[in-house]
Amino acid sequence: MSRTVDDRVADVRRLIGAARSVYANRARIAPQVARCTGLTPEGVALGFESLEREASDADLRALIARSGVADCVHAILSANVFVSAMRALVIARATADRVTIHPSRRDPVLAIALVEAAADPAIVVQPERDVASVTGGEIHVYGRDATIAAVRALAQPGVTVRGHGTGLGVAIVTNAADLAQAADLLAADVVPFDQRGCLSPRVALVEGDAARAWSFAQALDECLRGWGRRVPRGALLDDEPGEAMRWRDTMAFAGRVWASDHHAVALGAVGAPLLVPPAGRHLYVAPQPNWDGVASCLTPVARFVVAVGTDDPARVREIAPDNARVSRLGLMQRPPLDGPVDRRS
């Protein structure tokens, strides 16, 4: 509790140094990461590029300002994005003098590697999740909404639970955008982690008529085909194959689908409701004849939106959901280290 802001920045910088070290030696753990995540080796290599290895002082001070202050933090990590352990560690350490980390059972590799590389006595890996034994401070829980609810139910009185639940990314392509360039950049946001993160775009709202959206969907299909050759999609996990088939069949019925073994792009009808696809490099392209349509289309999904990528951030900020991160297309997976990626909570 006695740490100054500078102390906290220094503690976080030690973790960033650890991340650089893990990144430099990533070949050692990459096969384990691939086994745990289902990503292909190329997918793991791409994912490592999103590991935060740099941060400005201004970003870190913003992160600390957004963090609470506690004696201790118990962080419960999720498995969807293997590099997300880094930001969770950083936020926990910025918050507290003592940190216990419970890595995801399915994907513990990077969290353990970071803790080992940091060699910070204030950070301890705790293999068992024992929420009821946490008697003070904060619990940071990352994962499904049901997991967060379960943790809240078990947490003792006086313990603050900060939940980071399910969310998605949305792309907005304005009528001024160069379609080929926008498609190229959006594909680069879709492919990392096979679209399993809450920053990953699942929906693209294209301002303009149906023909413009059709052109964009075709361009996006071409770009994702290229990515599929360079970075093949990994295995779909658990319920993902069934959900993907259902979504593709629904969109084949209700619109138009372009697909390969590594991705699918679906074009909906003008004004049709959004059918958010499952993870696995699936994009729903929704034509919106005007800006009002773009704004109203966001409304039903607003509470799920963590990130918005666009060719015109200034214009989009006016309609983006509160707390959603707004960035240029191509940068959706690289938010500055200035707080949680998910600002909704």
Partner: protein, 370 residues
Amino acid sequence: MSAWSESEALHERVRAMIRAYERRARSPESFDAIAADLARFQAANVPGYGRLCAAHGVEPSKIDLARQAPAVPTDAFRLADVFAFDPSAATATFRTSGTTLGARGVHRIRDVGTYDAASIAFGRAMLVPDLARPAAVLVVGPSPADVQDSSLAHMCGLFARTFAEPQREEDTFFVRGGAPDIAGLRKRVAGLSPSSPAIVLATSFALVHVVDALQGEVLALPSRSRVMQTGGFKGRSREVDRDELEAATARTFAIDRRSVVGEYGMTELSSQFWEAPPTSEDETRSYFEPPWARVVAVDGRTLEPLADGEVGIARIEDLANVDSAFAVVTQDRVRRRGAGFELLGRVPGSLPRGCSIALEEMLAAPRDGE
């Protein structure tokens, strides 16, 4: 032949099958023969279905068996018009309840006569096989006039008109001002003739409301009465175990538990499925299909049929869906058990929907469809 004439002919073939069932006679033609012609008709006249067949590499003219026809995901009813004609040709339009993302599915019916014939024939066989003419049908739900887009309200109204003596609307439908009309129900039950059995139709959550509101009070129905319960068990007020609700319902209406009969229906279908009461305490309850519909447990990843006893998602082939989609794939989990099937709830993670939730919403707000 025009699409209209073709549709008329298909309706007549399905109705002939239903009539044969009512007469306990052999069906004039096979399920697959009608299914194959429905697949061709729908591929030609429902644009989305033609695209779905193409996406699966299926040539409609080469379909001989129902199982060869791709199934339409029920989500498609929320995104597109699943109808072979202009919407103005519909004589009934049913809507699903709203979902997390706001959109409601729409099922248009061109000739509601086939829907009604299917509902009555199998409903009579499964719900009231031993009752020539029950004294009354009591619906703990809104009337079809109040919610014209609810397939559940339509079916309940149909049963009230068909299985019972004509009654005033206020003596049949017991939801008033968005809440169960407990006082009205109490008065109506008290006035029933002890010698004439009655039928109560309700969703699971309507029954929860009734049981909770009565706080142990018994509304004794005449002997041989029964209660239809439809819909799931998850909702916003409280979750109730199936067995618990069935027992509470039986206690509340002073009937045997085996007289509480489950019904499984969907807005996207024209036929319903009914539970047969178990013959012993240990027997698992199963739902059954009429001869013009099939429920197939399929692998969620491949949509391939599964063996008896394996849990899959429900692919439903309903020949009475003449002008929409005769084959649909749902997000409900089922397990075949010989001639029947068990209903095992929704696929985890799928959008919440269903008539029980809809009634729950209706009780607090304007009524949704089934």
